[in-house]
């Protein structure tokens, strides 16, 4: 179990993480979601005792990371891909880590095989691809067979096969009763892996919610209507109390009235309808809606999120 209580990190005037509190429970994959620059990595570094919080506290099973008796056997972390000396082999990197916590060398070989680096284990890691670096980082995280695992963007740089492998790995670890905390900036990825998500924006907690609840919340539906007599229909719908938005392509997005009511209204005016289609927002859109106020770096043009779905 990981607990953050009022976790805060300021870098000078910049507030990277602000009063962040959440709990990551064992036996589930908990996603840590937020746009780039929202403070996910900083939070993970504070949990791992690498960065000192300005205020607040992060504990693992009620203990500070610094006080763990066998850190590598209790917590495993993949914090950044290729955090390894380019001149050192994968085997040497894992060996030097294993030695700190008195983990036998046989365990290193087991993990090299498990993550699929057997053929390159003796090669210098500087020649590794990003994907191979991720696999090595995952091996390092699993080295001590820890109860608690943290992964910062573990699928970055992996091919589709590798991504599927990581998903199954995370789910498998959670099924064994471990605490699994995974960060990502992609809702779609989390929808496939996580049971629960902690959503942050600009360093602040937006929501901690189960994926099922989030799906239910996000099914805020609307109806897409196309009509050659758009303005007339819009007026009638608004008189009925519906909220109507005219989209760029001239179609109407109607909220507050379902397709039955809209169809009947259109017939009574009468207005010709070319399209009458109920729409359901995707998880991705729900996530965008939740975080749109807290995106650190906006693109010059807001991308059209419609049609992006998991």
């Amino acid at each position: 179990m990981i607990e953050a209580k009022g976790l805060t990190k300021h870098y000078g005037a910049k507030h990277a993480v602000e009063q962040l509190s959440f709990t990551v429970r064992p036996g589930a994959v908990t996603g840590f979601l937020g746009p780039n620059g929202s403070g996910k990595s900083t939070t993970m570094r504070m949990i791992m005792g690498l960065d000192t919080p300005t205020a607040g506290d992060a504990t693992i099973h009620g203990q500070h990371f610094h006080d763990l008796r066998w850190p590598l056997r209790e917590v495993g972390a993949l914090l950044e891909a290729k955090a390894i000396h380019p001149g050192r082999s994968a085997r040497a990197h894992l060996t030097m880590l294993a030695q700190t916590n008195h983990i036998p060398g046989s365990r290193v070989e087991t993990l090299i095989d498990m993550v699929g680096l057997t053929d390159v284990a003796s090669k210098r890691a500087g020649k590794f691809s990003l994907g191979m670096g991720q696999r090595l980082g995952i091996a390092a995280a699993l080295l001590g067979d820890p109860e608690t695992l943290l992964f910062d963007e573990p699928v970055n740089g992996l091919d589709p096969d590798g991504i599927r492998w990581v998903r199954n790995l995370l789910k498998g670890l959670a099924k064994e009763g471990r605490t699994v905390f995974v960060s990502s900036h992609l809702m779609s990825e989390m929808a496939l892996t996580a049971d629960e998500v902690v959503i942050i924006g600009k360093g602040k907690l937006i929501s901690q919610i189960s994926i099922d609840e989030l799906l239910a919340q996000s099914s805020e539906s609307f109806v897409r209507v196309r009509s050659p007599q758009g303005p007339a229909l819009k007026q009638a719908l608004e008189q009925m109390g519906a909220v109507v938005v005219v989209e760029d392509d001239g179609s109407l997005s109607v909220r507050g009235a379902n397709e039955v009511a809209i169809g009947e209204l259109a017939a009574s005016i009468p207005v010709v309808l070319h399209e009458l289609a109920p729409q359901t927002a995707s998880l991705e859109e729900a996530f965008m809606l939740l975080t749109e106020d807290s995106i650190e770096y906006h693109g010059s043009q807001a991308p059209d999120s419609k049609g992006v779905s998991s």
Binding site: R45, F65, H85, L97
Partner: protein, 277 residues
Amino acid sequence: MTNSPTATLERVSHLPSGHYRFVDLLRSEWTKLRTVRSSWWTLGVTVLLGIGISALVTAETRAHWSSMGPGDKLSFDPVSTSLIGLFLCQFAIGTLGALVVSAEYSTGTIRATLSAAPRRPAVVVAKATVYGVVAFVVSEFVSFASFFLGQFLLSSPARHATLSSPGALRAVFGGGLFVAVLGLVAFGIATIIRHTAGSIIAFVGILLVLPLIVQALPSSLSLNIRRFLPDRIGIDILSATKAFPNAFSPWAGMLILCLYAFVLISVGTVLMVRRDA
């Protein structure tokens, strides 16, 4: 790999008693040191250059002995001449001392290290111990090898020394120790600066530039300050006879150098505990 990913993982039901130990950190640091090529390169350069330069200078001295003036012959110190290569060694050993620390930061390995062993002072002490022992063994090897090869090359009629000559054993053993402790000074600088280039520049600056600056001061002042500088402490140790007026005794000088290393590493450790990794 396409199998169930956790199939090969056996659950460890309980943690061993106690906690991670210092001796395990030593083992880990030794693995780190020997598994990167740069260590072997720097140590190889240390040995070859150190012994090579000493051999070259002593052989040249022997070749030109007959043409040397009587004054030169009288002031000739066969011990310090045969140890001349150590002056090059100190840069290679110092570079390695800086690298074992700074490379952890430049590569990000430090975060892996501290995720496995979060007690930072213990990590620094383990690292300094492993590096210090390696630097000491290699420097002493170079020092003794240089001495014996040098004395062999300084055959008659040139003056040569044996280990039982006055001050010789102290100079040879002390020379190796001097280079190793100087390496720990570089190590300490790197724990403070954390960048490879910056650390090496600071180290070289202390050895080469600082003496020039001090020399520019009024001589009464400069003499008093110069004896505290590492390069003077080194010359003092390597010479069988007193090298210059106002110098500390060789072992007092060595103690001062050890103090520098200790203070720098301590400051670096305190900073490391306070700073984010």
